[in-house]
Symmetry: C2
Subunit: 202 residues, 2 copies
Amino acid sequence: MSIPIISLQRLPIYLNYLKSLDNKDKYISSGAIARALGMGEVLVRKDLAFTSAHGKSRTGYVTEELISALEEFLGCNKSVPAAIVGAGGLGCALLNYGGFKNYGINVVAAFDNDPKKVNISEKIYPESALKGEIERQKIKLAVICVPASAAQEVCDELIACGVTAILNFAPLLLKAPPQVSVRNIDVAANLAVLSSQIKEEL
Amino acid sequence: MSIPIISLQRLPIYLNYLKSLDNKDKYISSGAIARALGMGEVLVRKDLAFTSAHGKSRTGYVTEELISALEEFLGCNKSVPAAIVGAGGLGCALLNYGGFKNYGINVVAAFDNDPKKVNISEKIYPESALKGEIERQKIKLAVICVPASAAQEVCDELIACGVTAILNFAPLLLKAPPQVSVRNIDVAANLAVLSSQIKEEL
């Protein structure tokens, strides 16, 4: 069963909480985790059921086993290389973001067609180096942060270089073969949904 | 009925297409739109049904009515003020992003506790000005782009100032009263889902 993204987002929260405990008891219950994080116990139990950890009804989870199961599920011990195309404000923000390593993802390269961007960081390459670096570093995962007008062309090029999973921030629907996984984050559309939910007074 | 975000994301695409037509015919059919954009006709019809436009079975939509219905639904003629808290890479990228006006959203202010950030743009205010500016500009919509460790505090402060709709980029679950609408965009979690879907060869 595929984990819903809303559950996946909570797994690092459980992991960070468990790792932050100074004196770890041998066992920890879903109820104790739920209370500490201000969440519902059923929700915690359902989320943790996606991992390989087995909680017992009276004792709960073996704390170290639960930590290992979360780390394994999240791929914390892996290092999956990823690339960013477009090193504007968003691309650079993602390049410098530390949170990807929680999921075993290592952003190893960014590409930009503006030569000035290439000097900002040694991880930023000119766009002409895209094919060579993607193939050399065996990158299968990429993030598109270019304007909408360039996004389809970048998408096609990435797929031609062997990328099979793409996160797209450009506000358009990318065309990609069904074997390629594409997820879209349209920030403006998310803000528009909220705008329609504004209440003038609480 | 609330529109799914995936449909909402497509409405500006239809609108931009219709507005880009040089010689607009009086009528346009969902089939013609679908063919032009490489999409399914049923999908197009379902999306457009969220607006007030009425398509007829033989003639389709009155083109100008459909444009108006899309603009009205998307709030293109409104100007809803919005604020960004945290003017780091992501916050600045959003501050400079032109796509919000497609949805009638106007990012009027950003706040940061780093005095150096305040000089980057006249729209960036010190965090001490947050309460005053949010109230003065009657801002109800805000985007949180601060690190996870500061996000809950910022969230509480925004709500205390009258904000009722929040888009959160920090990777944690914000606690907010049920009357406040909160949407989360966790970039790392989205990338992690894709990472789990990587195929080594197509």
